[in-house]
Amino acid sequence: MNWLAILDFARGPFFEVALLVFIGGLAYRLMRILLLGWHFDRIKPAGSKLGGALISYLRGILIWPFIPWVRNTFSKNPVIYIAGGLFHLGLFAVIFLDAAHILAWQSLLGFGWPSLVTPIVDWLAAIAIVAMILLFINRLVNPVLKLISGPAEWLNLLFVFIPMLSGYIMAHHLFFAYEVNFSIHMLAVDILLIWIPLSRISHFMFYFFARAIHGADFGKRAVIP
């Protein structure tokens, strides 16, 4: 097989198409939500909606991945808190702070930024991969997750797992020739990009809606969200 040709395809036209689907798909979903109609809230507030929304964001971003144990429900299912938090942390570090990925960003955007030192990114990536396996097992055994998981939920895990794993293998030059690893990684990334707007992985976009609504609803009542 001509891996170099595959690599060219995966990095070239296929990537461009995937990127278009990703951006177009998300834009479509965003517009659809925005255009669905928003009623004007006529309730007289007792506190600040904006303040509530800000606190809600801060809590969501700080407590959730870093100090989950301050929540009283933590002890009931610590795996999902810790694995979920570490997975997201590792994912962000790899996508935005890994030297090789910053080069990719640079070629896309025209500018880059300093990277995190490789060993740290490396560890975070490894942790994220282990966390994903834990999340997978958790989804297999937890009765609620069993009930609410359909094919899409399993595909979500798979389509995120393969780029993570193949990226790790590639960074460590394991198993196959470099261009083979690279090709697999790029193909997996392309598929993921196409899958995101079709799936709930796009929650990162609606996160901002839900958090704002939550914070405003609590803030309006003068309750800390």
């Binding site: 669905l36 109609g37 006529r42 959730w64 609620v144 939920e153 839900a210 003068a222």
Partner: protein, 420 residues
């Protein structure tokens, strides 16, 4: 077909507010750990995310490409009447709309209000538990779900005036404050009525009760029927306008407060310039401003006192601090918090209409087990609350679980501690 009616209502109710939150859900299942009904029973179908599944399916099938694809390929199916039956059971019998789940959801999805939307669809389709429905009909016909008709109201008030030696002003034009009791208080906790009257009189408040607006409980709001909800609210607002009051005070009822304070203005026109507040807030204000004086430490010698946060008065009502301020005067040494508390408190399990549905009893008791645990851990000999619906649940469950705990209403404790 009933399912079609429900789906149409869901579609009608779905604006950006509902859709963006349904889209944000990652199906992580963490909300389950918040729900006392899931915790108490271990039944995964009682997980909050599963309770909104019906709404989510209707939304996806109607508005999203993926949803339509799923239908076409047979991965998902049209909503059926059997589905409605299943969801009717779980959203009416095993959810108090306490919204604790929204505090645990990493996305912050407002699951309580979304489950209320599910109820709205089911109510349009006529899939409401019979017990709840008959209470709504009774409120429609008699003005109260507990049968407090005009004449029953008069009889009760006359009886309270004799029994407790208090003055209860009714339909007094020119009063500043309209006090609206719940029929639970009128029929089951008359001590509350006497207590609140005593406090208001001691504070020199110019207040009144009303015949037309005599019932604050809103069973249509439990049901999720917006039209009827407005009808019941209108009775109170009309009374307030007639009497020309400046404020409406809701007494010890939580869901009613959610309806009139935090929902009404989005469903109907509410009278301009009339403040709506809760007795918990008023008590705090009267104590803070010195309009009433209380015997400090009056309850300090009877063992540990703890406070139960009612989901609709504290977390959803905003009056978290006031009852604590009052308790710090009444029992500075023996007042102790349960954990978790305040906005993250665990709900009693009887609200949202649950206690009115006989078939829900097993769920209701299972959910209360979390409360039993909390009470034991804090070593409470008295548990205080500001919601008489919670109090019904506590009274019943204290018996059911054979607990040695006294259940008390906040207003009554304040009234007993008044320095005349």
């Amino acid at each position: 077909m009933q399912a079609q009616t429900a789906v149409n209502t869901f579609v009608h109710e779905t604006g950006g507010w509902v859709a963006s939150q349904l889209e944000a859900c990652t199906r992580c299942g963490m909300c389950a750990e918040a729900c006392h009904f899931y915790q108490g029973t271990g039944n995964p179908e009682l997980a909050p995310v599963w309770k909104v599944e019906l709404l989510k399916r209707a939304y996806e099938q109607r508005f999203t490409i993926i949803g339509k694809l799923k239908l076409a390929t047979g991965i998902d199916h049209h909503v059926t009447d059997d589905n409605l039956l299943h969801w009717s059971k779980i959203v009416y019998e095993a959810c108090t709309l306490c919204n604790k789940c929204s505090m645990v959801c990493p996305m912050g999805i407002q699951l309580g209000p979304l489950i209320h939307e599910v109820r709205t669809g089911l109510s349009a389709a006529g899939m409401v538990p019979a017990d709840l429905m008959s209470a709504v009909h009774k409120q429609e016909a008699e003005g109260s779900p507990l049968g407090v008709t005009d004449s029953v109201y008069d009889d009760r008030l006359e009886f309270f005036e004799d029994e407790y030696e208090i003055k209860l002003p009714v339909d007094k034009k020119g009063a500043d404050t309209l006090v609206v009791f719940s029929s639970i208080e009128i029929m089951k906790y008359p001590g509350n009525i006497a207590a609140i009257a005593k406090i208001l009189n001691a504070a020199g408040e110019n207040w009144t009760l009303s015949h037309a607006g005599r019932e604050v409980v809103n069973f249509a709001f439990f049901e999720g029927d917006n039209e009827e909800t407005v009808l019941f609210l209108k009775r109170i607002f009309d009374a307030a306008k007639d009497l020309g009051v400046k404020r409406i005070v809701v007494t010890e009822c939580g869901h009613a407060y959610d309806a009139i304070r935090w929902t009404a203005a989005n469903l109907m026109d509410v009278p301009e310039g009339v403040e709506i507040t809760h007795i918990a807030h008023l008590l705090g204000e009267l104590v803070r401003t010195g309009r009433i004086k209380l015997k400090e430490g009056m309850y300090d010698n009877g063992g540990t006192i703890t406070f139960h946060d009612a989901c609709k008065i504290q977390r959803r009502g905003g009056h978290i601090q006031e009852p604590r301020d009052v308790l710090h005067v009444l029992a500075p040494k023996s007042f102790k918090e349960m954990i978790p508390n305040r906005a993250e408190a665990i709900c009693c399990g009887g609200g949202g209409g649950v206690i009115a549905i006989k078939e829900a009893d097993p769920y209701r008791y299972a959910a209360f087990e979390l409360k039993v645990d909390q009470l034991k851990k804090v070593g409470a000999s008295t548990v205080v609350m500001g919601c008489s619906n919670c109090r019904l649940q506590f009274d019943d469950c204290v018996q059911h679980f054979n607990l040695d705990v006294k259940v008390a209403g906040l207003s009554q404790m304040v009234a007993d501690a008044l320095i005349e």
